[in-house]
Symmetry: C2
Subunit: 502 residues, 2 copies
């Protein structure tokens, strides 16, 4: 075969794998949104079967040989070309997958379906014991996974690498170690100032109107409904079944406006990233984001950097008041803006303000590393959570539903994911500084409800590349430096100085 | 390996195939209900990939060898045992699948996704030309499929065999030839009598209330919601993703009560068949119904033999009047009963009464056979439809949406399926006669809203066997004779004599 034909065949094999992965996402989407409870066992088998077949394809000797054979051909191409990157990323994935046993893959897929159900029950009944055996199994699976990659520098590295390709726990800790005292210092300054009022956010808000306004906002921001839809779920997420079908979900709280409002913006940010991939990337391992952290940078940008900004509400607050006149009629724009940016340590990560959010992440990472290193036992996670929470926030969760059970991630096998949220905040602010340099009148554009040049910037610089570049590499290319907490701290300082007047 | 171990391994291979088939049904369900339009291309690839992989597994030499090796072991088992039937049915499927090329399978899966979209557009715009090229392709695929099974007795046989295992076109024609003059004769007798009134069914009926009453009825009939859910779709269907997850769909018409009401009963009947399989049959080729005709017998039983019966509405009509007081307050039970059983030739199959329904089927079968035999061209289907419609019903459809475009089947590749509907009517009546012999006070039970003994009879005699037996074999076992149109004609004669008084 000519190299061009080999490349064609490689694309065929990779497209088949991509289809299978998309299919598993369809199964997961349905499971979390519409599947009747009785379907749990069947769905577990289906996910295990598809995971096993996907793995078989991912580690097939045919694929391995083809990747080898193509090396000399690829070596003479532009290293940034689609083809060169495709082979590079495919080879990286192949080598990783080849280390993982088929048994581990199938077992892992079987576990998460039941664990997800158990999490729902545990959370609803505020009883950790329903989840505990599943979590034991899932952490055990993570420990076994990590061993496929021995020797490693840190036991957490192979987990981190799933979500942040190429990144080491050492780097992550260095970033967080620099960040934590600055965030704590900022919180102290804020705590010394008079608190702002956000009680108006805690009123009865009609759920249908919440739903509608969320959709309306993201539509105005340029969301592509031809390729998407929104559904309700217990724990919001976005997911993509290919370039043409990228879905979002939301959760409505009848007595708290921000949850659905900013949740919808958040998931829309994820979805726009996937939808912004170059068409050639669809059905290849290059499709969608460079890392979970990059992905979170996009969602947090829609949610916070834009969605909780003053210019954004200069544009949309009059309309929001029209939708909720009895709740917001007497609330000024300034009061609203300060209210949605109120800083106060609280129990629930997804509702945390931007100043405390990363501390929620550091806490979770510390627990994950603790279990992985063997210093924390799964059965002690509730107490470990509460005591760390006291240390970080000087608060103790009233119950496990508000504590260790609040997040879905562990029960779906996502151990090592949380750091990506914090990285997303940092990356988002880094990109934001850069965008504002490139588009100096961006605040003015947002005030006028114009989002095209910002969206186009992101598409051009970030979205279209999918995962052609590793996260650090991409950020370096776009901003001129690697992941750096400084822009985030500058952003927080400036924002909260204006709100709290310290 | 010991035979027991071989059998275990066979079950593993068959379970994997079953999972893949369930997964393809999940993809199909989502496509018809929730998928955004932009997902069409991705979904087509996904369905093609899963179809190709399923086919690979279905014709694997490993499976073939195992089925061979197990022959002597199976030969000494009770031929009606689960194991003997499992191997027999698996072998039959293996031998059929092995004749079909992988290319055909993948191409076929690719085509139907686009064809389904095109059908929706063609129907909405009343323009056959949108569908025509897809239909050309699909009939061409059917012709190529049939050739895999040459030599055959009749070109329609291999298509019929997909839905009615073991049945020949010759048998089918014999049944229909006996039936048609009797149905036409009955229609003539009815036409000579004064027509009944059903205008009260054509009023504004609140859609939410229609939805609710449908669910309420099937709940009272014993529907298992733990393993099911209902969604809205363009063309109602039921589908199963395993024993624990069997779903139904419905379509609401704001100005016509029967559509959703009887549609929900119909799909619930299908779903209860699948949900009634013995647990051992799940994830094997024995799961779910013996044939499409058997399946339709169950849905038509819920819809018609029970759902349009006098005792059923003696039980539920008072409640229905409470739900729709302004529409039905002045309508007596007798008038309602006659109205929902009004016989009148009309254009739409799914709304046809029991006396004309089978004629709609015979028309479709005649067209399908015509195209397969080459005497009708796909592009002439609209005219062929209309001219046959005139012959059968002395009516001409006002447009193609009301004519050749009304059904989804051809656009999803279901060519050769329609006869199963008519067979379902016949089989339903045959079973119904037998049930009424075994449970002499069944009408009285229905009047009291008791459905347990009837449901249990069906589960015991029909549902639990899944597809262990071929359709003719199963009906012979349960009723003592093969498929026979006489009970259906006796049922129709008796019912319509009481309604029309001839």
């Amino acid at each position: 075969m000519l190299p061009e034909e080999q490349l064609q065949h490689l694309k065929y094999l990779l497209a088949e794998i991509a289809d299978l992965i998309y299919i598993s996402y369809v199964l997961g989407w349905d499971q979390q949104i519409y599947m009747p409870l009785g379907g749990t066992q069947n769905r577990a088998y289906q996910l295990a079967t598809i995971a096993r077949i996907t793995h078989d394809k991912q580690v097939s000797s045919e694929l391995g040989r083809l990747l080898d054979t193509l090396q000399p051909y690829i070596a003479q191409l532009d290293p940034d070309s689609f083809e060169a990157r495709l082979v590079k990323v495919a080879r990286r994935k192949y080598e990783k997958e080849a280390k993982v046993s088929a048994e581990w893959v199938a077992e892992s897929a079987m576990v998460t379906t039941a664990a997800y159900e158990a999490w729902g029950k545990a959370r609803a009944e505020n009883d950790f014991s329903h989840l505990e055996p599943h979590l034991e199994h899932l952490f055990d699976l993570s420990l076994r996974y990590v061993e496929f990659f021995a020797p490693y520098e840190h036991v957490y590295d192979p987990l981190l690498d799933i979500h942040e390709p190429g990144m080491k726990t050492r780097e992550l800790k260095a970033i967080f170690d620099a960040l934590r005292p600055q965030q704590v210092g900022l919180l102290r300054k804020i705590a010394e100032q008079p608190q702002v009022d956000n009680s108006f956010l805690y009123q009865a808000y009609d759920e249908q109107k919440q739903w509608d306004i969320g959709l309306e906002l993201i539509t105005k921001m340029g969301f592509d409904w031809k390729r998407s839809r929104q559904d309700k779920t217990l724990h919001p997420f976005s997911t993509s079944f290919g370039l043409g079908d990228v879905r979002i979900t939301t959760r409505l709280s009848p007595n708290y406006l921000p949850q659905a409002l900013f949740g919808t913006l958040h998931e829309a940010g994820h979805a726009m990233y996937a939808m912004g991939s170059d068409a050639a990337l669809d059905r290849t391992p290059l499709f969608d984001g460079a890392s979970s952290g990059l992905h979170e940078s996009q969602s947090r940008m829609w949610e916070n950097l834009i969605g909780r900004s003053y210019p954004f509400w200069q544009c949309f607050y009059p309309h929001l008041k029209e939708v909720f006149p009895s709740q917001l009629g007497n609330i000024s724009l300034d009061t609203f803006y300060k209210g949605i940016n109120k800083v106060q340590p609280s129990f629930i990560r997804v509702e945390a303000d931007e100043a405390t959010y990363n501390l929620h992440i550091m806490l979770r990472m510390q627990l994950e590393i603790g279990v992985m290193e063997g210093t924390i036992k799964v059965k002690h996670l509730p107490e470990a959570w509460n005591s760390l929470f006291q240390e970080y926030f000087s608060l103790t969760p009233p119950d496990n539903a508000t504590g260790v059970l609040q997040d879905v991630h562990w029960s779906t096998g996502l151990i090592g994911y949380f750091p990506s949220y914090a990285l997303g905040n940092l990356i988002g602010a880094q990109l934001w500084e850069r965008i504002n340099q490139d588009i100096p009148n961006l605040p003015e554009q947002i005030r006028r409800g114009e989002f095209a040049s910002w969206r186009e910037w992101l598409r051009e610089k970030v979205h279209r590349h999918g995962s052609k570049f590793e996260p650090q590499e991409l950020i370096q290319r776009v901003t001129g430096s690697k992941i750096d907490p400084a822009p985030y701290m500058r952003y927080l300082e400036q924002k909260y100085r204006s709100i709290y007047g310290f």
